[in-house]
């Protein structure tokens, strides 16, 4: 019964919080409106989440988000350094193919997003069966090291969170 009214409790909570942050003013009216949105949207969108993964490890998620934010800041300085101080012919761009151990689409989406936001890498494509990820590196003298780094640093953590 409860699952019918609240198919996705976390989404409901997120929607209520996001709505409060968007209107930027905590009143009873806004809270009720946020609550209504939080009840209706998950029910309407539940057909689009057929086998969604269970997120178990909250500390894991927080640690992952902090790690990614830190890496984004570092990434900005690295990319700025490459743009400003490296001559074009000495920059070595490379395509690398990363074999994926992750199987849930949500986890692969998060990994691809993380790769795009972090040091000198952009995720460009997925193989047709979703088992490897194509990544472009801005400056990678050693493509294998980049691949191992992504697998150890992000994929391992996401595997713990999602699977």
């Amino acid at each position: 019964m409860l699952r019918k009214i609240l198919p996705h409790p976390l989404l409901t909570l997120t929607l209520i919080v996001v709505w409060q942050m968007l209107v930027n003013k905590l009143t009873l009216g806004n809270l009720v409106l946020g609550g209504i949105l939080g009840l209706i949207i998950p029910v309407i969108t539940s057909p689009y989440w057929p086998n969604r993964p269970r997120l178990t490890s909250v500390p894991g998620i927080v640690a992952y988000v902090l790690l990614v934010i830190w890496d984004i800041i570092v990434a900005n300085f690295q990319v700025a350094y490459i743009i400003l101080f490296k001559a074009n012919p000495t920059i070595k761009p490379a395509w690398i193919s990363i074999p994926l151990e992750l199987r849930t689409p949500e986890a692969i989406t998060v990994l691809a997003g993380t790769i795009t936001m972090t040091p000198g890498t952009i995720s460009s494509d997925l193989s047709a069966d979703g088992r490897s990820l194509l990544v472009h590196c801005l400056d990678a003298p050693d493509p294998d090291a980049v691949r191992d780094d992504i697998k150890n640093r992000y994929e391992r953590r996401l595997k713990e969170i999602f699977e």
């Binding site: 942050m21 900005n76 460009s124 193989s127």
Partner: protein, 130 residues
């Protein structure tokens, strides 16, 4: 006074990174490399302006504003998607499958798998599942 210096520092950082990102667009030689400049250097550019805005709201105006956090969240959700769209468009228009490393599986990169090929493989998979 300290707060003013802090806000100014954030604004300067934001301006510098915005400038570097734009400069990268001109300087880097090919489209895939150019894509790196705006997706990254700009994150800190926008981030700096947002932190400055939050500090100003909190310490000078005395109100707390969540809008900056929301902007950051939406930026993090949309930047990878646009990056991916641009990269895929580039693959379709300017590259061939032979320019890219192999996929490590028996199917090609999704951009280069034709619809007929996909239908055939999925039909075979359905048949073996029955």
């Amino acid at each position: 006074m300290i707060i003013e210096i802090l806000i100014s520092a954030c604004l300067v950082i934001s301006g510098v990174f915005g400038l570097v990102g734009s400069f990268g667009l001109i300087k880097l030689p090919d489209p895939m490399m150019r894509l790196h400049a705006p997706t990254k250097a700009t994150t800190l550019g926008v981030g700096g302006a947002l932190v400055a805005s939050m500090l100003y709201m909190h310490f000078v105006n005395g109100t707390f504003s969540f809008h900056e956090l929301m902007i950051t969240l939406f930026l993090f959700l949309t930047a990878p998607v646009t990056g991916n769209f641009l990269a895929k468009t580039h693959l379709h228009l300017n590259r061939k499958a032979s320019d890219l490393p192999p996929t490590a599986t028996d199917r090609p990169w999704a951009t280069y798998e034709s619809d007929e090929m996909r239908e055939r493989i999925e039909a075979a998979e359905d048949a073996s599942a029955d």
